[in-house]
Amino acid sequence: MNAPLTSAPDDASNLAARRAQVVAALSRVLPRHAILSRAEDTTPYECDGLTAYRATPLAVVLPETEQQVAAVLKACHALAVPVVARGAGTGLSGGALPHTLGVTLSLAKFNRIVNIDPRACTAVVQCGVRNLAISEAAAPFGLYYAPDPSSQIACTIGGNVAENSGGVHCLKYGLTLSNVLQVRGYTVEGEAVTFGSEALDNAGLDLMTVLVGSEGMLAVTTEVTVKLIPKPPLARCIMASFGDVEAAGNAVAAVIAAGIIPAGLELMDKRMTAAVEDYVHADYDLDAAAILLCESDGTADEVDEEIGRMSDVLRSAGATRIEVSRDEAQRLKFWSGRKNAFPATGRISPDYMCMDSTIPRKRLADVLRAIEAMEAKYQLRCVNVFHAGDGNLHPLILFDANDADQLHRCELFGADILETSVRLGGTVTGEHGVGVEKLNSMCVQFSAEEREQMFAVKRAFDPQELLNPGKVIPSLQRCAEYGKLTVLRGLLPFPDLPRF
C-alpha cells in the first residue's frame, strides 16, 4: 500500500507507455496548456514543503473549471490512475508528494473568492484561495477567518481542509474543522458531492469530521464555505521571560488553571529566541531560558482585565520579566519572531526538519528534557517553538541534507521525538499531517486493527484507493518492517505493546 510511491515500474519504456496513455486520455478532456508531462515542466511539482522527499508524476494537470476537475477524475478513474490533489504545496509532511504512476491535480487556478456574506458571517471561496486572502477580503466588514497557520500568506484553504490546519489562535478559536461549514467537491469517480451545509449541521453522519484532515484521500475539494468571526477591537500580547524551561511550562498550565483561555500562548526556547532576534530584531530577552507570548483579545475593558489576570499568574509562576505590548505595532513585533521562526532557522542551518507532535501540557518540561538528551544521542542540534497553549510542539532539528548520515540521524531523531510524545500521552502530529513523513510513527500510535479501520474508511469513499494512495495510513507490511528495523537498532519504543 505504501510501497509504490517512489518505486520505479518494471522498466522505463513501460513508464513512457503508461504516461502516453494517460496524457492521451487527459488531452481528450483538457486543453493542451492545462497538461504538463515533460520533465522540465513537472519538476516544480516534485515535492511540497517537505523537500527531502521527491517524486515525478506521470503528468500534472491544471484544470480551470469544476467540469474539468470532474472530467480529469473520470478519466483517471477509468484508467485506475492515482490522483494527488495539490494546493500551494506548502505542506510540511509530504501530503502532496506526487505518485510516480499518478497524476498531480493542481488546483491553483481555483483562486476566486466567490462571495463574502457579512450578514451570515460566511465566505464562499474556491479551494485555491490563500488563507490570508480570506481575512483580507473580510476585513472591510470587520470580520476575519480565525485559523492562521504560519504559512497563511501562501497556503490555500483547500490545503487547510486537507490538513485540518491550526495556527497560533486555535486554542481559543479552534482548528479548520470548527471554522468550515461546507465543502463542495468531487468523489474519486468524478461525481459532485457536498459535505456539511450552510447551516450549523447536516443530515446523516458528520462526514466533515473525517473529510477535514483526510489529506486529500477521500475526495477532491473545489469550494469551501468558511465561518467568519468578528475581529476583536483590541489585542494585546504579554512577553514573559523565564529562567528555566520547566517554569515556563508550569506557567502555561497555571494560566489555563486560572480559567483563562488566551487568544494565543506560545513558547520559544533560548536558542530559537536568539535565532529569530537576529532575523527580526524584536527586542526579545536573550538571557531568558524560555519566553512565553501570551495574547488577549476582545473589547478594551475585557483585554485590560485579562492582561491583568494573566500578568499576575505569570508573575507568580516565576516570570523574570514581563512586558505588555503598548500598541499594535509592538504586538506585531512580538509576534514577528514567532511567525518567522522557520525562515530564521533557515539562516542558522543549511537544513532543518520541523516536527509537529502534541503532548499533554503538563509534560512540556519532560519532553524538552528528553529532546535535550536526544541532541547528545543523535549529535544534532534542535531549536524549539511550541504552541504551548495546546501542547503542540514544533522542534526544529538542524542538519545538513548534503550529509547522508546527518539526514539519517535527523530522521531517527524526529521519530524518537514523535514516539516519545506518544509515550507521554500525545500524538505524532498536531497540525501538519502524517503525509509520508510520519507513516512509520503511525505504526507506534495505532494498532493493526485501528489502521485497518482507517483503510476501511478510505475505501468507503474510494474503493480502489486511487486518491493520494500511500499517505497517512501505513500498511501492515510497512509497520512490520518498521518494527523489525527498530528492534534491530535496539530502539523499539514499546516492547510490551501488541503490534502485529
Binding site: 469530521t209 500521552g425 479501520q453 476501511a456
Partner: protein, 373 residues
Amino acid sequence: MNTAASTTDPALRRLIDQVCTAREMRTSLDIRGGGTKAFYGGVPRGEPLELQSLSGISSHEPTELVVTVRAGTPLVELEAALGEHGQCLAFEPPRFGGDGQAGRGTVGGMVAAGLAGPSRASAGAVRDHVLGATVLNGRGELLTFGGQVMKNVAGYDVSRLMAGSMGVLGVLCEVSLKVLPLPVAQMTFEHEVDAAQALAWLSAHRALPLPVTASSWFDGRLRVRLAGARAAVKSAGQQLAGRAIDANEAAAWWRNVRDHREAFFVFEESALASGESLWRLSLPATAAAVHPSGQQFIEWGGALRWLRTSADAAAVRAAAAKAGGHATLFRGADRSAGAMAPLPAPLMRIHRELKAAFDPAGVFNPGRLYADL
C-alpha cells in the same frame, strides 16, 4: 484502553462478548445508555446492549482542559464533577427525560446523538469538543482514535465521526472531551419583537464583536444571553438596548430551553395522538422565517428553528430545503417515513459503505439513522 483480546475489564468484556455473539447469530443490538433519547431518530429495535455498567470518570486534568469518561457515565454526574473545578461542557448538551429521568442520560448517548444546546452557535458542536474515543466496532474490535490532546491530526478523525452517528457505526466505550472554564459573568436581556424582527436583529448583530452565547425567540420575545469576562459582558450590556432579565429567571429559562422542559417542547401523549409533531429545522442563520403554520421557536442566532406543527412531512422538508437547510422529525407519533432528512445519492452511498466498514454484519442500532443502515 486495552485491545479487545487482552481486556480484563468485566464490563467491557461483557460488551465484547455480546457484540461477537450478535454478529455470529446475525441478530441486532440496541445500544442503550439511559434510554432518554429513544424518541429521537428511527424506532430502536434489537436486543438491548446496556452501557450503564461502563461508568465513571477515567481521568480529569483541569489544567489540560480534558476529561476522559466512560460512555455509561450519567451526563449530570460528569457535569457536577467538572463544576467542582469551575469547568463545563461549553456546548450545553440537552438532558432529556422528565422528572425522575433527567439524571439518566449518559455521556455516550450525548455523543452518539450529537445534540448541542443553546450555546451551539458560539461554542461549537459536540464534535468540536470530542478529542478522542474508544469504540467497539461490529467485528468486536476495541479501537482508539484521537486522544487526550487539543490538536491531533494523526489519521482520519474517527472519534469525531461518532458524534451524531446514532450508534450505527459502533459502541462508544470511552470518550475524551475538551472542557472549558465556566463563564465568569452572564447577563440576559429581552426585546419584544415578532419573528422577522428577531431574525433581523440577530443578523444585524452577528458581525459585531459581542459576547453573545445564546439566543431564543418565542411568542413575541427575543432573549439574548451575553457571557464571558465581567468587563466584556458589562460593556456589551450597555451597548445593547433591551430589558435585562433577573439572573435566576434567565438561568431557569436557558436550562429549560436546553433540556426541552420549556412548555413549547413538552409533548403529552394527547399532542402526539392528535398528529402534532416537533420538527427541528437546521437552516442558514439568515434564512427568512419559514412555514407560517404552527408554532415556531428560534435558537442559535436563527440557525435552528423548531416547528410544532401538524403539517405533513413533505411540506416541512420542502420548506427547510428551500431555505437551504434540512428538517428532522424530532418528536412525532409516526416515524415510519424516517426521522432524518433523506440524503443525495452520493452521500447515501458513502453512508452505506461506512456502515459496512465499521459494522459489516449490521449489528448496531439498525434504522436509528436511516432505514437501510
